[in-house]
Amino acid sequence: MTASPTATTPAPAAPAAPAAPAAPPSATDRKPLSKKEIAADHPTWCPGCGDFSVLALYFKMIEKRKLWQEKFTTISGIGCSSRFPYFVQAYGAHYIHGRSLAFASGISLSRPDLHVFVFGGDGDLFSIGGNHFTHTARKNIKLTCVAMDNWVYGLTKKQTSPTSPLGYKSKTDIWGAVDYPINPMKQAIAAGASFVARTTSSNPNHVLQMMEAAMDHDGFSFIECLSECVEFYEGAFDGANPRKGGVFNTVPAEHDVTDEAAAYKLADAAFPGYFGVFYRKPKATKNAKEAALQQQATAKFKGLKDWQILQKTFDAMK
């Protein structure tokens, strides 16, 4: 291993950041990552899959916002969309199906120095992963979660997903889906997410806008991004694509993004519905709350080494 002048090892018990590395070289002396540097394997997605554009815009954001590889992680569960981290030339994890948010929370809560981005499918985040979504949102754990919603299970080849509309013919509903779909936006709002937005991969500029806004939000930020599965649900989102005769309605200007009930109503709109930020109301993150507890606790032991703190506890157990 070659040592770098700027590298340091942080104090063992640096409160709130047990394992936070030193700051990287100041932004000035480093160029942003180029597309070439940040792109890894060529995506194994089907030609035309909506997921390509989500990946391209993630690259754009990384370049634009000067995120270097030691500053962020890309996390996913299992699914076509969840192959995402393999295509990014940076630290990432391809976790198990449905549990990416819990995994990402472990990073976020132990490594305040890292941006944590989670990408997943509608099945991954709202079927098997639904409860982790709810609890990560309610605890307002700082990370960005992008649901690449294609209304179907892609990787396993066309089963009904929790967002498949009634009547959609899948391998598990050859006569058309009978279960009422879930509404990801309502789920996020009801769970207490502090940033909730909606976009579609067919509108690149809007996707980038939403991603940047989410990244800048200090808390749990959620984006539902419609992303067409050309293989198993072709044309699903034409209705939201002006180039295909659809309409792309942005959130009404008069909408108050801090009004939960209003956001909930917006989420109730029939497809194609609205695009943009539905809800944004910062509140203390779990990260900040836990850091505060650490400050309180460590304050009592100023200047003591870890073993000396434990010694005090043992002294009381005699």
Binding site: T9, Y86, R99, S110, R111, W307
Partner: protein, 607 residues
């Protein structure tokens, strides 16, 4: 107690004082009576008196409480188990008296609350009965209100007098416990204590004094197994954990939740056990070994995510405080029936490490060792504790914290290049480079659950799957090569070898002592590293005629328990047979000898 005590005669008079080396006191009442507090005081006193001590308690399984006991065994010599029979029984109620007098040894003393207990005439000849109106005297001493709180302390006073315990030390302990905002609470406690202490024990023919125990090098700390586990993890440098509550695991998480912030760490209560292990997988992935834990049902839920850590080669520590199974089973009773789950419980070939502490003190050191094995081999490590270790209190020599406490903060110095799953190392071990580290080659690793190439990217290659499967296996084989062969307790050759793991170590060793005292050839082997197994066991086995694996789990379909199965599979030695039970209770020394009797008898005379 030792034999120096004669069966008490009925006549009264000034109590004779006899020296004893150990005593087993069983306190029987209801969980609400704070009988655990009495036991706690006695245990901590013993600790401060450099005596050995071991306790045993039962918890009612219904939340609204109910009958409960606390047994404490104090000794000037080595104390291996909480004791089969009690020397003194303190009975608060009729049910306590009736259900537990059987646990009193013939000629033992039963101290009972005459306000609640009607002694049985037929029992009087066998046991020495001492009646004290504990409830009413407590009310007298401190007034009705505090009665329920005071009664146990009053009884503590009685015991202190009977065993001539060190009152200043006890008063100090009471002070530490009750000294708080409201001084009247402490006053009441001390008043109750003195009332008990000063109460004449009437026709007790003798009191006891412990012989001085040989000086211990260093002071002792007194705690239960869950506490030792939690503090061991902190000493090991763990600063992040996540879990979901479940009995008897919960207090480990409660302690870590309370203590970690002092060290700049965090413990998260999750929505379920899968989220918990996923969070710890994430935190471990992010750099520093994290811990999760649970009991039975919660452990079964973690098996898929645990397999990910095996595949991604992310270090992790998982604590399982075992309880009675299957399913919800016996939540407040002890069993050792999760060994197979720990070793085999994930789909695919998913090798992981399994360790089991033998007692309270060992929980502390096992926690540190588990963390270091996980870090060195990038593998999940199970710690199999159990309900008995978790809830029993022991005194042990205080660890030298300055030496044992470690800092496991990762090194973030930039590296030239990094192959997370490098196949070129002989033992399969590749030091980790974690997020936050610059990699100058510009090639960054992905940790994933799909089979992968050396860089972590997915592959369906037959060769790579074979090689990576071997790599994951070889890491454990390399670990095994470093493990010390366990030492035989008793002579290394003989007739019967009692093999055990986990919390059965004490009773098994006591069984050996008892058998050898009776001239029988019995030794014991305690296995702390369950997976991989340490080398050299076959040589040890070859030195004995009978190898009996003593476990608190079922004999299984084919007549052997869970460790029994692992050993038979590996060594194909049909002399390996089980001694099993599933009654939710720890082994009594005489039960073990009972089961082994035929084998022991077969060896009579021989070597």
């Amino acid at each position: 107690m030792n034999d120096s005590i004669a069966t008490p005669s009925a006549e009264g008079g000034v109590p004779r004082v006899s020296k004893i080396s150990e005593a087993v006191i069983r306190i029987a009442g209801n969980s609400q009576d704070g009988i655990q507090a009495i036991g706690g005081f006695l245990a901590r006193l013993a600790g401060r008196s450099e005596q050995e001590v071991m306790t045993f308690m039962t918890i009612p399984s219904t939340i609204s409480g109910g009958p409960s006991i606390f047994q404490v065994r104090v000794g000037s010599g080595e104390v291996l188990s909480a004791g089969d029979e009690a020397d003194v029984l303190l009975a608060f109620y009729q049910h306590s008296y009736e259900e537990h007098i059987g646990a009193l040894k013939k000629g033992g003393i039963v101290l009972y609350d005459t306000d609640h207990v009607e002694p049985k005439a037929e029992l009087k000849p066998t046991y020495h009965h001492v009646g004290v109106p504990i409830s009413s005297l407590t009310i007298e001493a401190i007034g009705g209100t505090a009665k329920d709180k005071g009664k146990n302390i009053f009884a503590l006073g009685l015991v202190a007098r009977m065993f001539d315990l060190n009152t200043p030390k006890l008063e100090a302990l009471i002070g530490e416990r009750f000294g708080g905002k409201d001084p009247s609470i402490l006053q009441n406690a001390l008043a109750a204590f003195h009332a008990g202490y000063n109460h004449s024990l009437g026709d007790v023919v003798e009191t006891f004094r412990f012989v001085d125990s040989q000086r211990k090098d260093g002071r002792q700390v007194v705690m239960n197994g869950n506490e030792a586990m939690a503090y061991g993890l902190i000493a090991a440098g763990v600063r992040f954990g996540a879990a979901y509550p479940i009995t008897p695991w919960s207090d480990v998480m409660e302690i870590l939740r309370r203590e970690l912030p002092k060290y700049g760490g965090t413990f998260v209560q999750c929505e379920d056990e899968i989220a918990a292990i996923s969070m710890t997988n994430g935190a471990s992935f992010a750099g520093r070994v994290a811990v999760t834990g649970s009991s039975g049902p919660g452990i079964s839920l973690k098996m898929e995510a645990l397999g990910w850590a095996v595949m991604a080669e992310v270090p992790l520590v998982v604590v399982n405080v075992q309880r009675g199974g299957p399913s919800t089973g016996l939540p407040t009773q002890v069993e050792q029936s999760d060994l197979n789950l720990a070793v085999f419980g994930s789909h695919g070939d998913a090798p992981r490490v399994v360790l089991a502490p033998s007692g309270v003190q060992d929980c502390f050191y096992t926690a540190i060792e588990a963390v270091n094995i996980a870090r060195k081999y990038n593998v999940p490590v199970f710690i199999l504790s159990d309900q008995a270790i978790a809830t029993r209190i022991e005194a042990f020599i205080e660890p030298k914290l300055e030496q044992v406490c470690q800092d496991i903060t990762p090194d973030f110095s930039p590296v030239a290049d990094y192959k997370p799953y490098d196949l070129s190392t002989p033992d399969g071990v590749v030091p980790r480079v974690v997020p936050g580290t610059r990699i100058l080659s510009g090639k960054y690793p992905i940790a994933g659950g799909l089979e992968h190439d050396e860089a972590g990217h997915p592959t369906g290659s037959p060769e790579l799957h074979m090689q990576m499967t071997a790599k994951r296996r070889k890491k454990l084989q390399a670990l095994a090569a470093t493990l010390p062969a366990p030492k035989v307790y008793g002579p290394p050759e003989g007739n019967v070898l009692l093999v055990g793991w986990g919390s059965t170590q004490g009773p098994i060793r006591e069984a050996v002592d008892r058998a050898r005292a009776a001239g029988d050839s019995v030794s014991a082997l305690h296995i702390r590293y369950l997976h991989p197994l340490p080398p050299g066991l076959e040589n040890i086995f070859s030195g004995f005629n009978h190898i009996r694996v003593v476990e608190m789990n079922d004999e299984g379909l084919y007549g052997y328990g869970q460790l029994g199965g692992l050993l038979r599979a590996r060594y194909c030695d049909s002399r390996i047979r089980g001694i099993n039970k599933t009654d939710g209770l720890t082994w009594k020394v005489k039960e073990i000898l009972e089961h082994a009797r035929a084998d022991i008898a077969a060896g009579k005379g021989k070597k």
